[in-house]
Amino acid sequence: MPRLFRTFLTLCLVALAAALVFAACGDDDDDNGGNGGGGDIDISGVPELDDGVLNVGSDIAYAPFEFYEEGTTTPDGLDIDLAEAIAVALDVDIEFQNTGFDGIIPALEVDDFDVLISAMTITDERSEVIDFVPYITVGTGIVVPTGNPDGIAGLDDLCGKTVAVQVGTIQFDMLEAQNDSCDDDVNIVVFDTNPLAVEDLRTGGSDANFSDYPVAAEDAAISGGDLEVVDTQIAPEPYGLGVRKTSTELNAVLDEALQAIIDDGTYQQILDDWDLPDIALN
């Protein structure tokens, strides 16, 4: 019955087209209400907040700073909590957009979102492209297999070893710089997310994983005894909320909001809740 078949085929195509249209209309991650609190900060001059929503980009695969609660699509983490507190202080809603770390600055530049919070260290190269609002100070940590078979105590011990890192991170840059003072180069293995880098360490493909200290500690803690973190924070540096260079008003209000939550104790409370009281901005 060719005619029946043809009708069926047409219906399938229409359904497919409809599905594609609706998928395109679909929205990204969470929508957390900003009720009560703040409202003292004047956001009327901030174009990005005209719609009452703070659009935040983040590489949501970096516990404890940002990660998805197990089995859900709900973002959680220290960065997430700070961002939500800031949104409350500004009396706006908040929406998170998951973006790969190495593409997050370009995504910010093309207006995918208005601010990024992704455990991003403030560096000169990054500051040439975007502006930062510093919010915490964090160093780098090394994860090794339990028992530390290679006896790694610091950056110098990584010479001649295979180290897994995430693309676009300062850790990658630090390892390349380290090679200048190494006899035996560090074998740098690069992945697009940090969890994959940790996986490589766990399955014996690498000797160490190099990431932000709290992340390193977290990865060791949840590894079920396979991994441990080397007990030194290397080169602590400020992290920043990233905004476009043209977002001067947004920059100013974020600064105000951050100061507000520091002043009223919310900031320190969040840090304490995540067991990281010492990384406060100094």
């Binding site: 190495d102 593409g103 600055i105 370009p106 190269e125 492209v129 897994a164 693309v167 676009g168 990658f172 840059d173 293995v189 690069v190 992945f191 697009d192 994959l196 880098a197 996986e199 490589d200 766990r202 399955t203 014996g204 493909g205 690498s206």
Partner: protein, 261 residues
């Protein structure tokens, strides 16, 4: 550098960056890595694929079914999943140092891509074999050859001609699919560009460099493939015209059976 046409449109493309990275050792090294893995995997895939094809058309039910299952699995799952499963997953399951130390990234990449490719080559091989006139097999049998002998001496040589274009296609696809190797930490061409772009934020410029090299390889390969097709069409009246044969004709070398001349 902002191009002059930014009077109308803000175009920001830094040609200097493109020139800087075009022959940069990091890029060339990644290119070489890509070529090594693609070539080794392709060779392995073709050999294994032809074996699987012969098994598939065999009257032996064990051979035929085994081959069918192989193709079903290796064609039916994405190659990135295969990489994650058989590199990370296998190393998690097999907690032995001997295995983990020897199942390196590079070896896993070549083997897994070869296995994946073999599934596609098996189907191409099967098509090639089926394209040979069944009378050939009859004639071979009547001369006293076994199935395998007939395959090796009569059928496969004729099947190969039909297999060349799709095989060339497969190689090109394989070459480009190697970009997923970042999932297991291998820096090949696309990801070398990505790593550098993450540092200098010159996205378009870096990826242009990668695109250029992919196109170069594919172009050279296509010319080679065309020549190969010509050779296998020996004895035919209308030999396919290739770039190379046209060039030699202009230079004056004469060849039999060539177009109008």
């Amino acid at each position: 550098m902002i191009a002059p046409m930014s009077e109308l449109l803000a175009i920001r493309y830094d040609f200097d960056v493109v020139w800087d990275f075009l022959f940069d050792p990091i890029v060339l090294e990644a290119l070489w890595e890509t070529m090594k893995i693609s070539t080794l995997a392709m060779v392995g895939g073709v050999v294994l694929g032809i074996v699987l094809a012969v098994m598939r058309v065999s009257r032996n039910p064990v051979a035929s079914t085994a081959s069918g299952l192989y193709v079903w699995f290796w064609r039916g799952t994405p190659v990135i999943l295969q990489l994650l499963m058989f590199f990370f997953g296998l190393k998690q399951v097999i907690d032995e140092d001997i295995f983990r130390d020897n199942w390196t990234r590079f070896r896993a990449a070549v083997v897994i891509f070869a296995f994946n490719e073999a599934a596609y080559m098996a189907e191409i091989g099967r098509a090639g074999i089926l394209s040979v006139d069944p009378g050939q097999m009859d004639a071979a049998k009547s001369l006293g050859m076994t199935n395998l002998q007939a395959m090796r001496r009569i059928i496969l040589p004729q099947a190969i001609r039909v297999m060349i274009p799709p095989t060339g296609n497969e190689f090109i696809a394989l070459l480009k699919n190697t970009s997923v190797l970042f999932a297991i930490g291998i820096v090949e061409l696309t990801n070398a560009a990505r790593i550098q772009a993450a540092r200098n934020f010159k996205i378009m410029e870096l990826y242009s460099v990668a695109a250029f090299w992919y196109l170069m390889i594919v172009t050279v390969f296509s010319i080679g493939q065309a020549e190969l097709e010509r050779r296998f069409a020996a004895g035919e009246r209308d030999q396919p015209q290739t770039l190379f044969s046209r060039m030699t004709r202009v230079v004056g070398a004469s060849r039999r059976g060539e177009g109008k001349f």
